[in-house]
Symmetry: C2
Subunit: 336 residues, 2 copies
C-alpha cells in the first residue's frame, strides 16, 4: 500500500513537471523535442532490421539506410541520391531524424505519413527498383523474418502494410532530444553562449521563425521557395504543384526541419547549398529580403548548431540469413 | 599482500585453464575462436568510424561496410561487389569476420595483413575510386577526426598508416566466438545434434578438413581450386599466379574461412554457388573426387551451420560532420 501511494505521488509529480514544461514552451516559438511515446518495441526491432536490409532492393545493395544514413544525421550528405544502377535522383534526400514530426512526407508532401512514405523508395525504379510483391517474396522466404512478423503482427502471412508499419514504427524512435538548445529551453540557462543567443534573437527577429518553429523547427507547413526573389530561374522541380495541380503551389515545398541541421548538409531541395553559412545567406535574401552581415550570419549559424540532439543509439542490427529458397538479388543488368 | 597472493593464485588458475583448453584442442583439427587480445580500444573506436565512413570514397557513398556489411556476415551477399559508378567487381567480397586469422588478405593473398589490405579498396578505381591523398584531405578537414587521431596516435598530422592501422585494429575485434560448434569443442556435449555430429565426422573423414582446419576452419593456406577436376574451363581469374608469377599458382586461392558460412553466401571466388548445398557438392566433386549423397550433403551442411558464432555487437557509430572546408564528394560524373 505504501508502495502504491509512493507511485501515485511520483505520477502526480511527473504530471506537474510536464505541465511546467508545457507552460515554459509557450514562451518560445520552438519547443523541446520529446522522446517518443506509445512505441511498440517488437515492431521497432523488426522495423530496424528492415530499415537496414538491402534485400528490399533489386540489387540487394541499397537499404533505407543507404540514403537516410543514421551515422550521418539520417541523410546521405550528397546533393541528390544514388539509386539502382547509380541513377541520379531528382531531389535531396531529407533527413529521417524527427521526420515523425512532419505534417507530411517527401519535399512535396505526397505521402501523408511515414507508413505511406516507406513503401515509395522500394518500388521506385530510380531508387531501390524493386516491387512490393518481390520484396514480400524475399521476406517470406526467410524463416527468421516469417517468425518475427508472426510474433509482432499475429498473422500467418506477411503483407506490405506490415512492412511499412514496422519501418515507420522504427522511424518514430528516431527523434533527437537533448540538444543544447533544448537544454536551454528546459531551464539550463548556461547551455548557450552569447553568440548563440544573439543568433537565436536574430532568427526570431528577422522572421526565420515564421516558418521554422515548433518541435521540429520546421516540417509543419508548405511554403514558397523564393518569396522575395526567385530561387533559381531554371529550377526543374515543381514542388507541391506535382501533388495539388494548383499553379499557386509551384515552388512550394515542405519547410525542412532545422533539427540536426549541422549534420544534414548540403541544403535545399536540390542540395545546392554546401554550407550552413551559404544556406542562411540565401534564405535571408530570397525569403526575407535581408542581407545578413558576416557577423549576423555567423551568429545564426552558431545558433543552428545548438539544435543537434542526441543521435540514434542502438546496436547495429544483425539480419537473418537468406534461405536456399530466397530469390537472389540482381545487382547487374544482363550483359549485352 | 593477501590480495597480491590471491591474484597470483587466480593467474595460475587461469593459466591452468588455458592449458587444459590447449590440450583439448589438440584432439580436434578445429580450434575454438578466441576473443581478441591486446586490443587498443581508442584505435578500435576510431577505426570503427572510418570503417563506416563513406567519405573515404570519391562518391561519398561507399564505405568498407558497403561490401563487408557487418549486418550480413561481413559480406555483401552478391556474387561480385558493386563499385563506384556501379562498376562490377571481378571477385566475390570475402567476409571481414575472423579475417585477422587469415595468413594473408584478398583471395590471392596479395596483402600481408589487414593493415595492408585496408588501403586497397579506398584507392582502387573500380571500388571506392578515391586516393589516399584525397582521403587524408577529407579527414584533416574534419575537426573531430583531427582531435581523435591526435588522441589515439599522439601526432599532429594524419597519415595513411594511421588510417589503415585504425581500421585493422577495429577489424581485429570482428571475431565470432561462441558458435555451437565451439561450445561443443569446449565441453558442452549436447550442443550438437546427431546429424550435425555425423556431418562433422564426414567433414573429417572425407578430407575437407585437410584445408579447412584451425581456428578459422580455413584461411591458413593457399590451395588449388579444382584438384581432381577443373572448376570451370573459362574461369578468367588467375588466383595466386597474379602475385607470384608462378605457373603452379594458377587457380590457387586462399582457402576461405568456413566460420559463419551460413551468412556469407554466395560461395567461391566468383560467387557462383548460391547455396551451401551446392557449394558442398561442388567441393566434394572437384577437390575430393566424391559424390556426396543427399543425406551426406545435408549432414555436412548441418555441421557447417553450427559454425555461426556471436556476431559483432556494438552501437552504430555516429560520424563527425564535415566542416565548411571539407572537399565535397563527387558522386556523379560531369554530364556530357
Amino acid at each position: 500500500m505504501k508502495r502504491a501511494l509512493t507511485l501515485v505521488a511520483a505520477t502526480l509529480a511527473c504530471s506537474a513537471a510536464s505541465f511546467a514544461i508545457a507552460i515554459a514552451q509557450t514562451d518560445e516559438p520552438i519547443e523541446p523535442v520529446r522522446p517518443p511515446r506509445s512505441i511498440n518495441l517488437g515492431m521497432v526491432e523488426l522495423g530496424k532490421k528492415l530499415y537496414f536490409d538491402p534485400r528490399l532492393s533489386k540489387s540487394g545493395w541499397i537499404s533505407c539506410n543507404s540514403c537516410h544514413n543514421l551515422s550521418m544525421g539520417g541523410s546521405d550528405n550528397i546533393p541528390t541520391s544514388i539509386g539502382d544502377q547509380w541513377q541520379q535522383g531528382p531531389i535531396n534526400a531529407p533527413t529521417v531524424l524527427n521526420s515523425s514530426l512532419n505534417l507530411a512526407q517527401f519535399w512535396d508532401g505526397r505521402a501523408a505519413d511515414l507508413k505511406a512514405q516507406a513503401g515509395g523508395p522500394i518500388a521506385n525504379p530510380g531508387e531501390m527498383a524493386f516491387s512490393h510483391t518481390l520484396a514480400l517474396g524475399v521476406l517470406e522466404s526467410i524463416p527468421a523474418y516469417v517468425r518475427e512478423f508472426k510474433q509482432v503482427f499475429g498473422k500467418d502471412k506477411i503483407d506490405i502494410d506490415q512492412v511499412t508499419l514496422a519501418i515507420a514504427e522504427f522511424e518514430k524512435t528516431l527523434v533527437t532530444p537533448n540538444s543544447r538548445f533544448d537544454q536551454w529551453l528546459l531551464g539550463r540557462k548556461d547551455a548557450l553562449s552569447v553568440d548563440e543567443l544573439a543568433g537565436y534573437a536574430l532568427f526570431k527577429d528577422s522572421g526565420c521563425v515564421a516558418c521554422h518553429n515548433g518541435e521540429a523547427v520546421g516540417g509543419n507547413s508548405f511554403q514558397k521557395m523564393g518569396v522575395v526573389e526567385p530561387f533559381k530561374k531554371d529550377d526543374p522541380a515543381t514542388g507541391r504543384f506535382a501533388v495539388t495541380g494548383k499553379d499557386a503551389d509551384r515552388f512550394n515545398y515542405k519547410v525542412p526541419t532545422l533539427r540536426n541541421v549541422e549534420l544534414t548538409y548540403p541544403y535545399f531541395h536540390d542540395g545546392s547549398a554546401n554550407t550552413l553559412t551559404e544556406a542562411v545567406r540565401v534564405m535571408g535574401r530570397i525569403q526575407l529580403g535581408k542581407d545578413f552581415s558576416a557577423q549576423e550570419t555567423g551568429q545564426i549559424v552558431a545558433f543552428l548548431k545548438t539544435l543537434t540532439g542526441d543521435q540514434p543509439n542502438f546496436a547495429l542490427p544483425i539480419l537473418p540469413p537468406s534461405s536456399d529458397a530466397t530469390p537472389r538479388p540482381q545487382p547487374f543488368l544482363p550483359k549485352k
